[in-house]
Symmetry: D3
Subunit: 137 residues, 6 copies
């Protein structure tokens, strides 16, 4: 049976939910306060979950220190203390909802982690709102 190792990291960012194909009124109707043109922000909590076999020599599925460095280098350094809409290429044309941020982070990490590991993401936007990608089947 396989085992899942999980690592939590944090980043703080500003964002705005806005669809340029829509009128200002429709944006306001759909996104409410999250549509504020001057942005608002969150403390994001990210949990990265890797599933694989335990290496009998180390007792590790994946070195958690290495996983922490990998997340910081590829995700936290890119998004922490940034405006997701203005400061990142990923959200130039993609609405930075928690859903889309999770998919973007998954795609970034998937390229950095050997495919023998299954990869899942949890992203907390607030204590009350969070997403999981991909969903359990």
């Amino acid at each position: 049976m396989k085992l899942t190792v999980c690592r939590k990291e944090y980043f703080n960012a500003a964002h705005r939910l806005y669809n340029p194909k829509w009128s200002d009124k429709k944006n306001s109707d759909i996104f409410g306060k999250c549509n504020n043109p001057n942005y608002h922000g969150h403390n994001y909590e990210l949990v990265v979950k890797l599933t694989g076999d335990i290496n009998p020599d180390t007792g590790y599925v994946y070195d958690m220190k290495a996983l922490s460095v990998l997340i910081k280098t590829n995700v936290v350094d890119k998004f922490d203390h940034k405006n997701l809409n203005l400061d990142t290429n990923e959200f130039k044309k993609l609405i930075p909802t928690a859903e889309n941020i999770a998919v973007v982070i998954w795609n970034i990490l998937r390229k950095q982690i050997d495919n023998k590991y299954d990869l899942k993401i949890q992203l907390y936007e607030t204590k009350k709102n969070f997403v999981e990608y991909p969903a359990q089947q």
Copy 2:
């Protein structure tokens, strides 16, 4: 791949675990302190999880504000600051264990949410006791 969005809400309620088919002694033996005839209570934490596809126009799987309103209207307003045994129809004949409360809430929400979304519930009775319904397969 699908994505899961999760929303946490809260309600505070009194309850008593009691099976009317049993003697008082058997009720006390099985349910212990939870059988107190005068009730006790909990701060329940409810996490509602919906799995679906991201709508490319909104970046949402499901509007979390709408999900919050739906949970408050259908679940929190029904159970918050209530005696589950005395004040609700759902537990007139059903023992209000965390397990049964979770199933009742799932059945309530299932009718309110389009079947294209998979629905799961987590219910925390205390920090140390919680349930998930339906179980992962």
Copy 3:
């Protein structure tokens, strides 16, 4: 300089806010949902804080295991899985608000703990509502 040691314990109870000197309407106006005649309940978190000098032989201000036993024997066993209004002498004539519960617990513990220790209480009724007694001066 003195040091404060703190111990957290838990109890779950039902209660109702009700003043028998008032009409039902006034009770409902003042206490809202907390006035439900059939009770509701909470997971209470209690922090007991003792201030004193470090005993150089033990490195302790107060043995935390002994403090835990003292709290469980005198407070948790009395209130856990109880209806505060119906099952306890303390709240037969006293409204079981978080404020009054904190004062009652402080008075119970004060008799059990040597007066050379300063005693303070924090009581969380929910994550959003809590009280401290006595107040910092």
Copy 4:
């Protein structure tokens, strides 16, 4: 002896630390990532603490529902989902550090709450950074 009642509320906002009297280089040297011209953001947690006497008729120091409404009306509605630098008068000329935000909130609430109550504020910018105003003496 007096008692302190505490109420926690939340708001999410964007901000930037920037002193217009300084060069860009000095701003960057002093404020680091927090100086990002495009803003970043946080989930702020606010604890409002009122100290007073228990009203024997209600068992309350202050009605927590009323305190919650007062905080939401005067603080949360003003700052939630806002850019503190651009969207609020309070931080047009004041750097929105956690310290200054706490003082601003205290000044807002002080005018709304009878002076017979002592008022203190805790403001969490992240889980690791928080401030208390005024300091304990």
Copy 5:
């Protein structure tokens, strides 16, 4: 549909990550600070998850009090306030990583719990590092 009941318990232990087949230098290179010959320690949080059917007579999948006693007797009493490398048979020849501790606990509990229940374990070594066994399929 089946339901999962979850119980959280705690234990505090010392450990050291060390592979006797390797040189000291390789141990230090691979395990870093966790290789300290004099040990370090953690507050472990253990979540035990049982999946099964609700018994209609009790409303329980599994009596949580009984589950708590079972975990304390078989796991907490064995590992709490222990040096995992020196004080336990399980880790005499097995490196006490979070991964291996989770598998050991799963194997201990599996023998104590009827096979009609599916069994899963979550083990938190710190707030940022945790493991799940077996992995979701």
Copy 6:
């Protein structure tokens, strides 16, 4: 009025409570499981609180990034992943209770921080046991 800024950091360590002036039996009677000769361990959470005036140029009482570095350099690097009894000079002759660890950390930090700032420490040994030094007066 002054303001208090607070910074939380973490370290994981092993320790044993033992008084060399006592018999083994007395050590065991007084310290119980914490007297295990092979050590056990904890995830310590440290909150450092500095009280001072807000610098109007920065809006800071004390730069939190600088405070984090100062704590890491002087406290975390010294105690993290260490055996407090064997690996540190501070606890060669001092019993590493939470009380004594807090006093030691306060003394270390007091030398590094300008005396114009009031300094307080909170140290969590577990979620249920924590200490504050110096005590509020």
